[in-house]
Symmetry: C2
Subunit: 422 residues, 2 copies
């Protein structure tokens, strides 16, 4: 089936913009196969024409916004960030009849609702999957995957920086300052971390998600915002002793037709689904009246995860325009039966002293034995067994050993072989 071409005007070529160019170059064929859409970036707005940009065709660069906005492209991707001129760029694109994709969380938290209305009035699409939780397709889930659900509550770890800092404080028993410095050194926190650690970034994302989930405009003032600066190593330890973990969680919940919204540190039971989300990961836990509880978890930021989200919006808009036309690839025929893994083996034996024979046969077949146990049956109805945990080795080698074990009088049909790890 023929593919359709889609021309993209790109505003901004920083982290996410650069990631987008990289991803389009790299996964061009996959995208075409899955969607029938052939993407081409036709013009890129940058601030500095002379800056080195690997993988970017310098002929596409311009410092004049009109060269992108009035370039006959099908769609404008806004990745300059901030409020102005980003807002004007988006308004101008929509006025010019172009679909828009943006990752601009700060702008959407202020003007998202009105920009969406402008787009709808012009029957255009405004994609913003990348504005919340990086590569996790949570906007799509709310708009489309869970469209038939009345959302009852939504809570999430929406700020990766805060989660990284709290994870370090919990696991390494360090204080806030030390954890913040480590986050800055690793590039997970800005030099000025205010937006992240004081809860404002999470609150902005919560506003965007809540407006979609509850189909209502949320006033920023309605959100109770607290950060993580006041949490000490002692608090983390005290929480741990009580069976809790301190996490920064943004929550919106509906009760009695009122939405209650907050972004604050909370104590979660250690087994809670959000309590186990570590490091810079993000997660969103939704409760819908049809699906019950659902968790989405993954990387919430970074050039490639965010570019992945931008790309999903681009393709989605292209498909909405012209239909979905995957071009199917190869057939997968023959199985690849062999693999490397650790294994757990269990043999039913008459005499558990067969442990010697079994481990020798395994070792002879190059299946390293990490642990082995000879187990006498505890009851009349149970069996004597030999259990083995192997080192990593090929499944073929394990099967070879099983065949030899028969010779030693042990029924390999009664053996259980399980991989260790997925």
């Amino acid at each position: 089936m023929a593919t359709r071409k889609l021309k993209i005007g790109l505003l901004g070529c920083g982290n996410v913009g650069g990631g987008l160019v990289e991803l389009v170059n790299k996964n061009d064929a996959v995208i075409r196969q899955r969607s029938g859409v052939e993407l081409s970036i036709t013009k890129i707005l940058v601030r500095d024409l002379t800056k080195e940009r690997s993988g970017v065709n310098p002929a596409l660069l311009t410092t004049q916004p009109e060269k992108v906005l009035k370039n006959g492209c099908d769609m404008v991707v806004e990745l300059v960030g901030g409020i102005e001129p980003a807002r004007s760029f988006i308004q101008e694109s929509l006025a010019g009849g172009k679909h828009v994709v943006t990752a601009n969380k700060a702008l959407l938290a202020i003007d998202g609702f009105s920009l969406m209305k402008t787009a709808e009035a012009k029957k255009l699409r405004l994609g913003f999957e990348a504005s919340v939780c990086g590569g996790i397709p949570i906007i799509r889930a709310l708009r489309s995957g869970l469209v038939g659900n009345r959302i009852q509550s939504l809570s999430g770890i929406l700020n990766g920086t805060s989660n990284y800092i709290l994870t370090r404080m919990t696991e390494d028993r360090v204080g806030f300052d030390a954890a913040l410095h480590e986050a800055q050194a690793k590039g997970f926190a800005e030099a000025d971390p205010t937006l992240d650690v004081d809860g404002h970034d999470a609150a902005q994302k919560l506003k965007i998600l809540a407006e979609l989930a509850f189909n209502a405009e949320v006033s920023q003032d309605a959100i109770q915002v607290e950060g993580i600066r006041s949490i000490t190593a002692d608090d983390v330890q005290a929480a741990d002793e009580l069976g809790y973990v301190i996490k920064h969680v943004a929550t919106a919940e509906l009760a009695d037709d009122t939405i209650s919204l907050r972004a604050a540190s909370v104590l979660l039971p250690q087994s809670h689904q959000l309590a186990v989300v570590r490091d810079e990961n993000n997660a969103v836990l939704l409760r819908g009246d049809a699906v019950g509880e659902m968790l989405f978890c993954g990387k919430g930021a970074g050039p490639l995860p965010s570019a992945s989200a931008v790309l999903s919006d681009i393709v989605d808009i292209a498909c909405h325009k012209g239909g979905f036309h995957p071009v199917h690839g190869a057939t997968v025929g023959a199985a690849r039966r062999d693999y490397e893994s650790r294994h757990y083996l269990r043999f039913a034996v008459d005499d558990p002293s067969a442990i010697g024979t079994i481990t020798s046969v395994l070792e002879r077949n190059r299946v390293g034995v990490a642990r082995a146990a000879a187990v006498w049956a505890k009851t009349a109805s149970s069996q004597n067994q030999v259990r083995v945990l192997t080192h990593a080795g090929s499944r073929k080698a394990v099967d070879g050993a099983l065949a030899e074990v028969v010779v030693a009088g042990i029924d390999p049909g009664k053996a259980l072989v399980l991989r260790v790890g997925e």
Copy 2:
């Protein structure tokens, strides 16, 4: 903005079909607001006209397939299940130019690839979100949300019955038979559990997911299929002693341009993201080259979760046809600041014996004290503290107590107040 009407012909009104009718009736307004689509089910194929069906208009029922297929509907929803006549119904619908939505995993595992090709050749959509993992929008994630990613591996707990049985065996230390009986009693397992406990259901779902993830036709024979029947209580215990949990996991991974596929029991480290998925829940863990690791987790079956997935396909197809036109609802203004919760309170004090004053003030303000600790600073740079874990109470009451504490000479500005729980 005006809504668009969409006429649905429904084939089958069993568990999922009944759930769909219930959901359309119940969440009609939410769906219209989010998508601008007004759904109406215009004809329903059933086997028995006399059966009691609550919430279903009897005038819509028919026992003749043609009455549904040739009813001038915009879309056919196939929920009769099984291979025939379901396949013929779908083929006939596509031939008649109608989009199709189906939850038919067994049919898709056999003919999915060719049915998709037929639909594409006619520029029609074939939706099958409900065929895998119930309400979790995993098909949508693969087709759209992660469209820009080269998927490297995909593994999941795809069979809720097996996961329920293994959870019971792990947590209650019972054997396979006892756990299976419990699953049957609770309606999580069929009278004949073969498809579920022998791995075939998971393998069928894996085939559908792998074909989308790798954009290639997968031969059923290429999947190594093993079930959970041979797992004993002893195996579960032995795994636990080694730090592992036994789970039934379906995996497809790409290496050296070959896809390796298996659905089998494995030992997972206890902290693995799939190891903590309990009971009848499903989960899918994906690795994409742009997004890294991503987890989706939720209810994998049941009338309403599956109906939610069917509905998402219906609305998606309607929006692809005519655009996405949400009708926005109310504005959320005033915050609801008060809430009920347990709280963790931390006070900086000169003298930790202030614990008496603090707990009295709390109790007087109807904030029940569950635990309180007077903590002397361990180092010169740290502070003397009083820490309190309260019973559930209103935030307003806590704030009232904080105001009174000032009078007692304790600086409430230095107090930390955290909710316990989201």
